[in-house]
Symmetry: C2
Subunit: 296 residues, 2 copies
């Protein structure tokens, strides 16, 4: 009979996985067990600390609903999401780098015409235009841009009951030469949700909950690997301390002044191209996300 002890329990758990009929699942679980046990052996959590971890995960699970995903947020603030993204998106030089999807992507944004304004409230506008092309510089006709952004309140549409559904979101189809253009509000830096267990954890850790200003994009086209990415605003005070570690220098953009509205509100413009790599044998990486139901 096996006499389980600190010395042999890890191997016993791994042996218990030997009969798993799904090779990949077995590989994932063996890795999870090895690293989880190594964590326990290294930090030697007390029973109270382990219980606190269990309570944290329980509460995080219970804070999730069709508009909120606290466990994605937890993965984000630990840098795990961006690392999963990185190991899945080792792109050829020149292709647009990926960044994290975050928990606020919602499928089903309405298609908008080229030139459309994604915002329905006052505020400084930016006109974003550019081309979608491949790594050889060839335009990708009809590429689709799925775009989403917070309002100046720091909230995405589904976080704000007073916001129109899919405000500051839209799907845009590039023209025959891969060109796109749209208007939106100048993005602002904002706080991730702090009223749940992840927010409390950040406070205990002495970390702030802010993200630098950014606009989210998923750019896709048949025959090409889609890219899930964000464009970050140069000069933002949170570029070096993004709460979810999404910033890459190739994704920094500078909004140029572009006159003023009649009421004096400044206007900006941005030219930015997205570069997709040709699809490899395997399907391109899909975004990390638990897509809320269409009615969410």
């Amino acid at each position: 009979m096996q006499n389980l002890s600190e010395a042999n329990v890890t191997e016993a758990v791994i042996r218990s996985l030997a009969g798993c009929p799904d090779h990949r699942l077995r590989e994932l679980m063996v890795g999870l067990v090895r690293h989880l046990h190594a964590f326990v052996r290294e930090v030697e959590p007390t029973p109270e600390e382990w219980s606190a971890g269990i309570r944290f995960l329980t509460e995080a699970g219970q804070r999730c609903d069709d508009r909120r995903q606290e466990l994605i947020l937890f993965s984000d603030v630990l840098g795990a999401t961006i690392l999963v993204d990185a190991v899945n998106n080792r792109k050829p030089s020149g292709a647009t780098e990926s960044s994290i999807l975050g928990p606020f992507y919602m499928e089903g944004a309405p298609e908008r015409c080229l030139g459309a304004d994604l915002a329905s409230r006052p505020g400084p506008r930016v006109t974003v235009s550019g081309r979608v092309r491949d790594t050889e510089g060839q335009p990708i006709a009809g590429a689709v841009l799925d775009i989403w952004e917070t309002a100046p309140t720091g909230l995405y549409h589904m976080q704000d009951p007073s916001a129109p559904r899919f405000e500051l979101c839209g799907r845009l189809r590039a023209d025959g030469e891969g060109r796109f253009t749209f208007r939106t509000l100048l993005p602002v830096s904002y706080s991730i949700p702090t009223d749940g267990p992840v927010g409390r954890l950040l406070e205990l850790l002495g970390r702030h909950p802010f993200r630098p200003a950014h606009v989210h994009f998923i750019v896709s086209a048949p025959g090409h690997a889609p890219v899930v990415t964000e464009l970050y605003t140069e000069g933002d005070p949170y570029l070096d301390s993004d709460a979810v570690f999404g910033v890459k220098s190739s994704l920094l953009v500078r909004y140029l002044e572009d006159g003023r509205e009649e009421d004096g509100t400044p206007r900006y413009r941005l030219e930015h191209d997205f570069v997709l790599e040709r699809a490899r044998q395997a399907a391109g990486a899909a975004p990390i996300g638990v897509a809320p139901p269409a009615g969410g």
Copy 2:
């Protein structure tokens, strides 16, 4: 500005913890980040696999209530609970070894008299008696035994709406010579709950959900480290494949036949001593558990 990449993101996350005012929390979180990132780097989960993990944890959190703790169960079936127990309970030779608390301990069991029968339904009885003593062999007068066990249905009282509250549970106080005795039902092997995400996972892993027959004990006395343990039934078919890895050979017991009831039901007896170590400077290890509210 930091340009985050696969190569440097782990160190960036660890740097973000440098300002944590709680040294121990920082140590725990740095360990978590290092091992979580090492897991990601080794197994390279796809975004879909990572999302499946997020969904698993979300669902597990949402299955928890005041009678069920699916995340403790997850920790149990990964062998993490027993490993946390092991690193916290390196006992001197001769002291009773610990085993896992499991998710079915409920505080507040009624005090019972020595000799009481914990069961209120028919079935084969076992009379358990012994002494609580220290590692020098001295009896520990007034030691308390908190005892809980499943019914022959395989369910603990809080899992079975038809069972009396705290059936097969009780708190017993040893006499002036550390002696105790009580009656209960002969324990049976049973399945952990399989109707949640952990049960589904075990099925995908090709693992059965059974635990060998056992009775749970928390034995405590002032001035001594309490022990959370279980006594396992010799010869049980699941001793070598306990779903939660709790079995230690020092915790095996043999129930001896002890005549029959008038209706022919067999009776058994067990003599077993519990040995506590003197409390060290620090408080003894408390059990791992999210204690349900007294009304649960």
